[in-house]
Symmetry: D3
Subunit: 334 residues, 6 copies
């Protein structure tokens, strides 16, 4: 008995991926709802193609509250010239477009976390339909994939570019070369414990060269962090031979996150007083934050300790913390 | 015909403001509502009194999403010793307590902006009742008032302490002395155009020495910014003779905001790309940010220009901006 | 200079208060809103008139989540016969009708607590318009007023009928006679500290004989508590000479609430374990409830103590309690 | 003792009302809130001035879900040429701009019904601040005022232009001349019973020539109804001598609404079956609609009757009706 | 290995489908939730049976904001006499009853679009449980199925009855005969591209004669459109031999929708100005609507073009349009 | 082809189930969301182990608005001494912790009813992840399971302990022995018609001795009902030989619910007047409640009848009732 043929994606692109030149269009995803019976989600997309060469798929807004990627990609989409390209560049600055418009990590439509929704479903939720379209339509077109992340409204990260440790060492090697080319201030080799549902895994399982980033956080971007993203994407395209010109490389500090001791969680909610700032060094056992109970004054705060030596590479961003929140993440310099 | 006598405040303190020693308690404000017919808002308060001397009223959480003040004051409330005090310290780390618990600028109960609600009303909204209690019960007890602010979730500020330019020059002078003592990296002399409803004005109109701060923003705090707040409040208490010990003063850069040209507003909403970072210098006419329309790729961004020479002293924080939002504020160094 | 003439009420009754016989109709209150530009609130009302005699105004649903009154009055409205009446009975089973439909203490339209909205405003909120109509149109028609209350969804009460201690002792005496006639299991003489905005005060200030009740709570009614209400209203009408027949009186226990020590408030939120049940006796200092912090197991609960000897006459109803909630109320038997 | 001078409006226009030529700009109204501490409401405005002549103030979006006016005025704002104007035209296509963006009758910010908020308050709600700016800044500039209305999402109207019956008969006469010039299919002479808070009244009390419309409803517009609005506004400007060219007049049917019998209200909610369509004739006592209870099948519907002879000039629009909704309005042809 | 037996439907009917005569009852669907632990959804149903003959299943409210069907069916349910029936009529005026009560296209409980939920699941969401009951309990009882639709709150349609082009030509033929009998002003032969999850497909796959309608829209009904529905259902029952009497047939205009060029979508949101009304003729390339950006005056509107010659048979209803909304649908007359 | 190995649970316990002594900790369930990208749900848990012996798994808060169980278990967790235990006691006072914190039957995160979510899914909703952890991690550790329930906010029950009639009569016998030991005022033998998704069934299918309770309702607890729970759990542990000491047994009345006639549902919504109280006897056909339509006064109420002889063992709690709600449940004494 054969597996039934999978349903076609409901998404219709208004661009032709095989056409030469620059096209700005949409991925139109029908979305029937109370306020528009025959409405659609319109995900902006740009395709730039010039002759033969590899295809880069560049994405931002996988989580809707992370901004360095969308800034770099909206900028690239309007400034990239076809004549400077050898091959093809597909740019989707805001993958989970409903989340991006709302400024939220997950989709306001279905609370879907796009980066845990792969491979998606053509007849699932809106977020699952987006995942399915990347899985079955866009990823197969790509040779290299760059997916921008930052910390979003509730986390802050040291700026780094990263790739995964893979069983296919040739694939891994090509990925780390692009990480090096990206030239973020920090670079990370990641071993994903639980990679179920991730876009990263979907791309890597198809043999694509996949790199990602964390470039700041707090639901904002700075001139500096946006500049890292803009330089990084140009560098990657140049190193891959898709964009003409020389990569503008810079030194980077490689980091390693050895295991569960990297993470410190809160067991009490309250007002957080950070005692170490981003990039600061810590030693095992050091108190890195206090959490004040906010119901009354005069009560002692609880304390959050580092479980390893290292530097602070990510932290809880909002001023209040809830029990169970990750307060701090530490990494080792390599 | 006489004005009718004003109604008493519905707020009951559980502390005795005239008692010696340390008391941790509440301002209990009855608040009848669907989920608690006989409920109350419980605003934490600490009073430390030791012998004769002036009274300092120290407040944070006037806006509920600003954290340096509450951190410094929850910390001070649990660490201040009565024997180190000469006079009285009244600490309310979270004035608009419902907003502070919710992590929002305004009260989730009535959307009240406490700092535009003075002098308040004893029979008004919850926020107006809080304002009224400060107006009629707490401010009259005080000689000096320090009210902590930061940028909150939607603005970011260079860290400064500030006082207002006042018609009573002696009062102004005493205020600027305390600003100098606070020793924030920056200090500001402010001329308030529209001071209606502000706590600042309420205090100043009673002749109090009033200082305030902006110490960061984004709805977070850092070890550095919290440290500025903690050192600042101790310095102010020491300079005022209320706390024993020497003030730990540091150099500060004085700033001036000369008028409406300081402010740049967005006329279009979209994705903001900052081109200048906090503290960076600008010249009149310089493009300081681009705003990308997010409905499609390939469209030109609008531009935000500086209308004066100066440094960037405040900025819009979230990655998306709406038409009408203040994008950037510039100041002149003095 | 004359006071400007007050605006007319926007409410139109569909009944004629001077007509003989039984009429079931509405108080129609225009309420323009997004989902009905020319909509109205329709408050059900019944008027029964037969010849000459005093007028009773009978009301329930002053708070929308209290049910003994509405049950007794919907029942009375459909069963009362004009020929059994001498005078007039005006029945409004659900004063704050929007709150009653929503099953909430306050109005879902404007969060108005009707019993703190008197004398109301003809051009105010919907709740203020209702108050104004009772103030200026219905109360002036009445000789005696019976307003039913219960504890609502968040409080529970021993069943009692009550009247206020008044400066006009003749008026007070007539009120307590009706309380006695009501024959609830308990009866209460109340001295209102803060009576601003209450329907009670509005009625008493016009010289009306006013009685009220608390007949249970929790947002429910039982066969027993509804029976107390039904018997009580019939008894009151009979004692007032408006309804034919003999009052079905029963013994009642008079209670007294001497002051602020009657009330016990929570300073911590959590899971409440009651240690005394309704009507149970307590002695001063006794632990009457424990409050478990719910964030972790193994932590000690806080304790709520009685501040006087007496019996438990009201209690917090929901299983969780918030800081500031009234946990227990005690009364003395007289 | 003098009345205190009123506070200045917080609204800043970005246009110069005395400048020659065409300006497109904003009324910027500062609006501090949780998602933008220093945000603003930006109300689009166009000013076209050419030489000497009268000023017309043209407004739509007084209620945010009425579309013929905004269509005609956005169209006029982009097509009107200064050289065709003699005097000044001030165009605000969406007065209650937050409501217009939300597509709701009232403001989503404060639930304010702008047309019941005059004269407004400079320190009130956002809606009251808008009213105040029209009251004190824009209306004084105008000679004639045309304010577009339609039925909105919950009502439907026969298309008519209207003016009020006024005590100043010369003012009334000039108004009705402009109504005639507007040339809607129907024209109405209105006697407002309760005109408190209306923009109409504010304009008329200043002696302005004020006309208004109802041009359809249901929260939509058609090519036909938008065409009536576009022709009407041009006709009015031409008749007033502000716009060059001849008015394109057409015959109109005058209507009269004699009193309370014009209105039929629902006493039961349910599913409405209309039995007469817009413009249809009815006789007194005729059943004009049935209302089916929706809780079960087989139950008899209630009936709505006409209380006068006439034609159906307005009706409840949504398929479900609530008790208290106005179901139908009748008028007499004159 | 066998497929596990499917779980029984949780729905209990209170009617007996095999009993003679008229029964009004409910489909009771248990629905445990926060506000009713042991609550149910009660879907009204009427069954009329008289002797032998075919069974018609008549349904409305598949989408909850479409009213012609519910009006015709609530009316039929209360007026149909058993003695006029030969066979059986099953009437469910509001299939997605929670959506119908809310006046929304989809269910407020689970956002389920019933017409994309077939075949449903007995242990799924409330909407899926309803679909499952029709799939497994009601459709098997039927010979002919008439499912009423209209445009709902966000679309407007020319009034037509329709059936699908089917592979079984005899089944198709019987369906089109009933469409002809319905006698709507327009009739449509539909070729469904993506029929997954539709009630239509579920019925057709069982070999039932299935017809449907679109009879207007905007979330309202008129006397005229409701009349079309009432006449249509009677005609269908008469043509099928289930209802006594002659069908009241009238001429109809057959339409055809040839493909994707029928649909025009918005790529920009804004204020829509329709340039063609329902039933109006267009030629390929014609501008059929303008969309004004609402952020400022003076900006040029975008334009929506017809991609074929034909007549306007459906349109976006609300005055504002969002990017991705279907603005207009064109059909060819046959 | 093998079934793919199931994914590991995402939940991490902070306690060691095999360690001796008392541990208070958490089940940490990662929950990424808009307000905490790396947040977690922290479910409190206590493990007490002393030597060899059986394991009891004690749970409350399966539904979040039922309080006797959480009270008894938070109390037990802080008072149980390891030296009094022979074996192991695992205490989870609030299984569906998010629902418990919200005071709602179902989870506010996903509306999940935990007791219909078994066996759960490791990659499903938060509620399904909790079910999966109990299914695969905690239930296998247990010999006996006691799961506390009460009526919650919308139902009220006579206090009883219960077990199911099982096909394994030895297992059933052991369960009923523990029910007898619990010594609630009433005891029930339950035959579950539809046990799909229940925790009960999951436990029984593994051969565990499973007992449950209903101990009151209305979303509250009393000193009396909490006392029943505290005594009951101690009795069960003692009877099972896990806790030292003698069980404090008391007489109990056994009840039986013979079938569908036990339940009375409302077909109309409105204001409910109960005519019988909890534990009261009824005869078949007796009117047990009236339901008043609340839209107008003077209309007759509908009536709810008993369909069997028995006593009232459960009832609808809130004062308003909706069509489809279960109004009353009757049982027979055995």
């Amino acid at each position: 008995m054969n597996e039934p043929e999978q349903r076609a994606s409901p998404i219709t692109p208004t661009v032709d991926f095989s056409a030469e030149g620059i096209q700005h269009g949409f991925l139109r995803l029908p979305y029937s709802r109370d306020d528009s019976a025959w409405g659609s989600v319109m995900i902006p997309i740009t395709v730039v193609k010039n002759g033969e060469g590899p295809t880069a798929l560049l994405t931002g807004g996988n989580h809707g509250d992370e901004y360095e990627g969308p800034i770099a990609l909206f900028d690239l989409a309007r400034t990239l010239k076809a004549e400077d390209v050898c091959g093809r560049v597909i740019i989707v600055p805001a993958m989970n477009y409903p989340a991006f418009v709302a400024g939220t990590r997950t989709s306001p439509i279905d609370k879907g976390n796009l980066n845990r929704s792969f491979p998606g479903k053509p007849d699932g939720t809106v977020t699952q339909k987006i995942a399915d379209y990347f899985q079955r339509a866009l990823l197969p077109l790509a040779d290299i994939v760059l997916d921008f992340h930052s910390g979003g409204k509730t986390l802050d990260f040291l700026p780094f570019c990263a790739a995964h440790i893979l069983s296919d060492k040739a694939q891994e090697q090509r990925s780390f070369e692009l990480v090096q080319a990206f030239s973020a201030p920090y670079s990370m080799k990641m071993l994903e414990i639980d990679a179920v549902g991730m876009y990263d895994t979907a791309a890597e399982d198809m043999g694509k060269v996949f790199i990602t980033t964390e470039l700041g956080g707090g639901g904002t971007a700075t001139a500096k962090s946006a500049g890292i993203a803009k330089r990084g994407v140009a560098n990657v395209l140049r190193r891959a031979g898709i964009l003409k010109g020389e990569a503008d490389v810079a030194p980077t500090q490689w980091l390693d996150m050895p295991g569960g001791d990297c993470f410190a969680f809160a067991e009490e909610g309250g007002l957080i007083e950070p005692l170490v700032d981003m990039g600061g060094t810590v030693v095992k056992g050091q108190v890195v934050a206090r959490i004040y109970p906010i119901g009354r004054t005069g009560a002692p705060p609880s304390k959050v300790h580092a479980k390893m030596d290292g530097i602070l590479c990510a932290r809880h961003f909002p001023g209040l913390v809830k029990a169970g929140d990750c307060v701090a993440v530490f990494a080792m310099t390599v």
